[in-house]
């Protein structure tokens, strides 16, 4: 009934308004896309930095030098100065990009694979299986994300792989929910009934029809999740629960910088900026991606 009356509506300025919005959303898209393009550009730069870190870095990231501690930017050939062990801050930032990207991507892939699996099972089969899986996911989501990761790290212990596992596991319920929602909406579609009536098996329906249709929102969600995972890794490392020292991670550099905030504020400032810029560009890219794929997407 709503639609009917809406189509009856004869307000010229409403049409105007709609046209204006269309134009605005186009402008917006353009602007957004500019931002998204900026985000994408920064992401590419980061990936190259991570891959070619040994060539970009001016010093080995773990090389200590007690004669050159807490230098300011530019002093004695250290572009961004040194930390309390005399390690080159610039080089450690460059190497830190590796940790952030590896953890960000690997943890999200882990969470996406297991989360999607649970989401598909839950959404597709429904009933008791659905109820049980979703109650578990609800339970996991009752923990603030970072706290779940902290608890898991207390069990796993420090280390790169463990950080990936902890953040990956904390990511599972989010993916499960998104995928389950997608599966439920795809399941309603007529063509699934047709496929089933033609005798297709469950697994075939899932892999050939349900999953491909869930891919767009999954990619958008995953992009945002990478940004979240990078923040989480930094948080864990900042709390001393992340990668093991002396591995250069932006979070652990920030932790060191915290203790030398007065003597050497550059360390904390720069490592934090690296996190902010990385996360911001991924979020910008994700926003643009969502608009491009489907503006009505509710993630």
């Amino acid at each position: 009934m709503h639609n009917e009356t809406a189509s009856d509506r004869e307000l010229l300025y409403e049409e105007q308004y709609k046209r204006a919005q269309k134009e605005q959303s186009f402008m917006r898209k353009l602007l957004r896309n500019k931002l998204a393009a900026f985000g994408f550009f920064v992401m590419i730069v980061l990936v190259f930095t991570a891959i070619f870190a040994p060539w970009i870095a001016t010093h080995p990231p773990h090389q200590m030098d007690v004669t050159r501690t807490l230098l300011g930017p530019g002093e004695m050939g250290h572009l961004l100065g040194t930390d309390s062990y005399g390690r080159d801050t610039f080089s450690r930032i460059i190497y830190g990009a590796r940790i952030s990207l590896i953890v960000g991507v690997a943890a999200v892939v882990f969470g996406a694979v297991f989360g999607s699996l649970l989401g598909v099972i839950s959404g597709y089969f429904g009933g008791k299986i659905d109820a049980i899986i979703m109650r578990i996911m609800d339970g996991m989501m009752a923990f603030p994300f970072i706290l779940l990761a902290i608890v898991l790290m207390t069990v796993f212990g420090q280390g790169l792989m463990n950080v990936i596992f902890a953040i990956g596991i904390a990511n599972i319920p989010g993916f499960a929910r998104v995928v389950r929602g997608q599966v439920l909406s795809v399941k309603e579609a007529d063509y699934i009934d047709v496929t089933r009536s033609l005798g297709a098996k469950n697994t075939r329906i899932i892999f050939h029809h349900v999953l491909p249709n869930s891919i767009a929102p999954l990619i958008v969600y995953a992009t945002m999740a990478v940004a979240g995972a990078i923040i989480s890794e930094a948080s864990l490392s900042f709390l001393g629960l992340g990668v093991q020292p002396p591995t250069a991670s932006w979070g652990s550099m920030l932790q060191e910088g915290k203790d030398y905030l007065v003597l050497n504020p550059e360390l904390a400032t720069i490592s934090g900026l690296a996190i902010l810029i990385t996360v911001l560009s991924i979020n910008l890219f994700g926003d643009g991606l969502r608009d491009a794929l489907d503006p009505k997407m509710k993630i």
């Binding site: 709503h2 009356t5 009856d8 004869e10 010229l12 300025y13 409403e14 308004y17 134009e23 605005q24």
Partner: protein, 343 residues
């Protein structure tokens, strides 16, 4: 018919979005007297709703703007009146009801609250007195068990009841002018008749003028005294209802009447019997705006804009051919032929 209440003269309204300027209203003039009901008809996008909003100065700015013309209410030009003075008029001297009562009542406030709101804004009444007044208004518009209904939310009412509530709100301060923007379009046919009857009753009681915006010529026929036919932000034809029905002068009016007949016959959707669509008002329209869809279009129609010509007392039309009576007859014959094959 009483004194002149509202006179709109040569009104122009623009909407500016980005670099595009849409001229929604282009030189609309009409007047409305006490106790009179004026019908404003036209297709979607003809500017009738914008005209109504302009009369209450409710055009959202930005993007909209009254660029020139005057709106004279009780001898005072309100087209440039400041907001706080306008607010004293709105809801008090002039008020409005809308097409869809489902969306025009605020879902999160009780009906009583929404009724009392406008009473308390405009009348110096205590809460108790305002409540009494609200109760009286609800009873007046024929809502049973009004006392309990005051405490209810809009979603607990039926569509017809909601529109009655809207009318109660609009009339709560006994306005002189009621603007009804498609008041029955969203309602069931049987309810439509009830609402129209209610409006006529209340008009007799309060002596107010009604501006009835509609695309339904049946509604105009039943309720209005005079009519203006709008197209592309301009008045194509105006006159008393009798004049326009008995002797429609503009080819666009003919088209509207034809489509009305067509829709009455198969009682389905109102389909425009006039092929084509209105011009894009973000471009300057040279000549007659209806030229592209007019079956009788001639060279001159595309070249110059027709002036408004009074054919008889109070009956005006903006068409190049209406002064030549032989021309008119020829066109009318052609029209009969066209509508016969058309429907």
């Amino acid at each position: 018919m009483g004194e002149e209440l509202l006179r709109v003269e040569d009104l122009f309204v623009e909407f500016k979005t980005g670099s595009i300027v849409t001229k929604a209203i282009n030189g609309v003039s009409f007047s409305l007297h006490q106790n009179e009901t004026l019908g404003i008809v036209g297709e979607s996008g003809s500017g009738k709703s914008v005209t109504a909003s302009a009369a209450m100065r409710l055009i959202p700015n930005p993007p909209g703007r009254i660029t020139s013309g005057s709106i004279v209410y009780k001898g005072q030009d309100i087209s440039q009146l400041n907001e706080s003075k306008m607010r004293k008029l709105r809801g008090n001297e002039m008020s409005m009801i809308f097409q869809d009562p489902t969306t025009s009542l605020n879902p999160v406030f009780t009906v009583g609250h929404q009724l009392m709101e406008s009473i308390r804004i405009h009348k110096n009444l205590s809460k108790r007195e305002a409540k009494q007044e609200s109760l009286r208004m609800l009873e007046l518009v024929g809502i049973p068990a009004a006392k309990q209904r005051l405490k209810m939310y809009p979603h607990e009412f039926s569509g017809g009841m909601r529109q009655r509530v809207m009318i109660a709100i609009a009339l709560s301060c006994q306005p002189q002018l009621l603007i009804a923007d498609e008041p029955t379009t969203a309602l069931d046919v049987t309810v439509q008749a009830q609402i129209l009857a209610l409006m006529k009753d209340l008009q007799r009681e309060f002596g107010m003028a009604i501006m009835m915006i509609t695309h339904d010529l049946g509604v105009v026929w039943e309720t209005c005294d005079s009519i203006i036919v709008m197209y592309a932000g301009q008045v194509m034809e105006r006159g008393s209802v009798r004049q326009v029905y008995d002797k429609p002068l503009h080819p666009y009016t003919w088209g509207l009447l034809d489509s009305q007949i067509a829709s009455d016959q198969n009682s389905q959707e109102v389909l425009p019997a006039i092929p084509g669509s209105p011009p894009d008002l973000s471009f300057d329209v040279q000549g007659c705006p209806f030229a592209d869809r007019c079956p009788y279009v001639e060279e001159i129609c595309r070249e110059s804009k027709p002036a408004r010509v009074a054919i008889e007392d109070g009956h005006e039309v903006a068409c190049h051919f209406q002064t030549d009576t032989s021309e008119l007859t020829r066109k009318e014959e052609a029209n009969i032929g066209a509508s016969a094959t058309g429907s």
